[in-house]
């Protein structure tokens, strides 16, 4: 079993900080039409985390294939590669206390450079790239750091308003140590004017929260004559120390 938490310390088992529901998008957001019939209307039942949310499965680095974190080549024919601007996306997974979180499974998916997804229900005019599948995954290192290579996805139109477009984005599924930390979000690209026009982005009320999902172009980390770098840190729910938890004797 991999070493979870800071080295030489036992795994953490505290309850999670409560989610800031004003920072996250609400369920019912009529500007994003699909949410209208898919949004719970009753109040959520709020509870302190139990062992069922504090715990979670472990994903070991040994489950990863050599090319899992390289979407430029992981679907491509031998010797070929996906079409589009070559980029690396890197950053750290932290929790709300600012502590790097190791062993986090990060799964990503995206459209190709033309804005087309490889999916049977997708019908956009832009062509498929025979060398691009659109999925990748990695697991964060001891300090929470992660990195993967891909091509910059294109923007694309989608049926919502008569002329709505998604900004270029990469979907992120983030699996921390506890099932209560489970998170799916999207990464946007610094300077993209489409961000502020998108009904899905606008489900988030606070502009600072939107900026938190916008990766910064990092020319220092950029590889000369190869690929640009975008930095995207991800923050998971923090957890309280068990030292001060209510607990029964011997627990």
């Amino acid at each position: 079993m991999s070493n979870i938490g800071a080295p030489n310390r036992p795994p953490e088992a505290g309850a999670f900080f409560q989610r800031d529901r004003d920072w996250h998008p609400p369920a019912f957001t009529p500007g994003y039409k699909t949410s209208v019939l898919r949004s719970p209307r009753r109040a959520l039942l709020s509870l302190n985390s139990t062992i069922s949310e504090i715990t979670g499965p472990v994903f070991g680095h040994d489950m990863l294939g050599e090319l899992d974190d390289d979407m430029i080549v992981n679907f491509a024919k031998p010797g070929e590669s996906a079409i589009g601007p070559r980029i690396m996306v890197y950053g750290r997974v932290l929790d709300e206390r600012g502590i790097g979180v190791p062993g986090v499974l990060i799964e990503v998916w995206q459209a190709n450079a033309g804005g087309r997804y490889r999916h049977k229900k997708e019908s956009y005019l832009a062509p498929l790239d025979p060398n691009f599948g659109g999925c990748g995954r990695t697991i964060s290192g001891d300090d929470g750091s992660y990195c993967f290579r891909t091509i910059q996805p294109g923007p694309y139109p989608w049926p919502n308003g008569p002329n709505d477009w998604r900004p270029a984005h990469i979907h992120f599924s983030v699996f921390g140590h506890g099932f209560g930390q489970r998170l799916i979000t999207q990464m946007y690209f610094e300077g993209d004017p489409m961000i502020w026009k998108c009904p899905i982005v606008k489900t988030i009320n606070d502009p600072q929260a939107i900026e938190q999902l916008t990766a910064a172009l990092d020319m220092q980390a950029t590889l000369p004559m190869d690929m640009r770098a975008y930095k995207f840190d991800i923050v998971l729910r923090g957890r309280r120390s068990t030292m001060f938890e209510n607990r029964r004797e011997g627990n």
Partner: protein
């Protein structure tokens, strides 16, 4: 001025969108050759201890239509009531059971099927036993932040009656929204996103 707490904000959620399968169940989405298997597809092996059960789930929208593009993950204890997790302090769980499953709902029927084992009971924070349950997390197009709920077992009436979490539901008429009914070895669990029978969702 007091010292700053220096906390970060959790990354805000965004919808999983209609193509969540590409990232999380690529083989289900006919993107073969990248990963050998879809993660969480097989929960139970020959050596797993416990009673084999089948759980059929659907997610139903406010118009009564099952979602054909949802993704459901479950997390559960082993047959002895232990989680296979580093944060489990009470003992070692069955090494042949991860406790975690992931399924996309069928693109035609909207149903997904988990082949698993019935979990044992685990303690609530005050030490009282909770009834056996699956912890359930649902994402889909149109769902802005993943929904947490639980599935309890209809043939565990006595345990359900004393479950401290079910006891927190003020309107008792809503408790059955969390209880799957058993027929043979199969439990059926419909998750209602809206309406009179809206499932109880958790902020937990």
């Amino acid at each position: 001025m007091a010292q700053k707490l220096d906390r970060l904000k959790e990354s805000p959620s965004q919808t999983a969108g209609p193509y969540v399968h590409i990232g999380l169940t690529p083989n289900f989405a006919d993107i073969g050759g990248v990963y050998p298997d879809d993660l969480g597809a097989a929960m139970v092996g020959d050596k797993t201890k416990g009673e084999r059960i089948t759980v059929k789930m659907r997610v139903i929208d406010g118009a009564g239509t099952p979602l054909k593009d949802a993704l459901i993950e479950i997390w559960q204890a082993d047959a002895a009531g232990l989680y296979n997790s580093p944060a489990e302090r009470r003992g070692a769980a069955d090494p042949h059971f991860t406790g975690w499953g992931r399924r996309a709902t069928d693109m035609v029927s909207g149903e997904c099927v988990f082949e698993t084992i019935k979990p044992g009971r685990v303690p609530f924070n005050d030490g009282r036993p909770m009834a056996p349950h699956l912890t359930v997390w649902i994402v889909a197009r149109g769902i802005n932040i993943g929904l947490h709920t639980r599935m309890y077992f209809g043939d565990e009436e006595a345990a359900n009656a004393e479950d401290p979490v079910l006891a927190r539901i003020e309107h008792k008429v809503r408790v059955p929204t969390l209880i799957a009914q058993r027929s043979g070895d199969t439990y059926v669990f419909d998750i209602q996103l809206q309406g009179d029978d809206e499932t109880v969702f958790f902020d937990i």
